[in-house]
């Protein structure tokens, strides 16, 4: 994986792949896609970078502290978003019942808690994939 052409093509393409993944996450509720697919695409861009350029440069792009934080607090973010329903006197993870403003359908801000939860799940999936791959790549042959 030390090919010159591969490195240059990856340097051109990978930022756009990462941006596309973030687009899929943020527009998960108005266009096809979703948080899982977007999270996998975002994680994929970092994994491909680490596979092509080596693990040290990949670690420099995404330090282990950031990975630990997103890994640990992604599910907690989901729980906090669910507690909004309980605070407002509705069941756990309630969205419309809790009185959250849903907005105009089709707008980026529509859906109330759905876009926030989707953002959390997307970052969660991306960090899981990156952690899995970095741990497997650290293993010496």
């Amino acid at each position: 994986m030390r090919d010159f052409i591969l490195k240059r093509v990856a340097a051109l393409i990978l930022p756009f792949i990462c941006m596309y993944g973030l687009y899929v996450i943020f527009h998960g509720h108005v266009s096809p896609g979703g948080s899982f697919a977007g999270g996998i695409i975002v994680g994929l861009s970092f994994i491909a970078f680490a596979t092509i350029y080596g693990l040290e440069k990949g670690r420099a792009k995404l330090p282990e502290t950031v990975l630990n934080w997103t890994e640990s607090y992604g599910t907690l973010w989901y729980g906090i978003m669910g507690m909004v329903g309980i605070v407002k006197g509705a069941p756990f993870l309630a969205n419309k019942l809790a009185g959250v403003s849903l907005g105009a359908p089709g707008a980026l801000s529509s859906g109330g808690l759905i876009s926030l939860i989707g953002l959390g799940v997307g970052i969660r999936v991306a960090s899981t994939m990156v952690t899995l791959f970095f741990t497997m790549m650290e293993e010496e042959p």
């Binding site: 096809p32 791959f133 790549m137």
Partner: protein, 86 residues
Amino acid sequence: MSILYFTATDYRIMVLLLILVAASLALYFIKDLLHAVIVYGAYSLTMALIWLQMNTPDLAITEAAAGICMTVLMMVVIFRTSRREE
């Protein structure tokens, strides 16, 4: 019971399914595991096209991301620490 008839989408899905059968048969006969993983990428690409023909772009995006790129990259990482031949 309605009368069965084939639309253009059905014929497209049939052709893609034939490619799918060919790819999965080839997976059985290939001895080099890296080549097998590449053929598996072709299998996943065909599967994503089938999902697109069936009007489910969500599954197509997930299949393209997870099936093609994720599995191939995972196998490439695993081949660095283990034997490539079967």
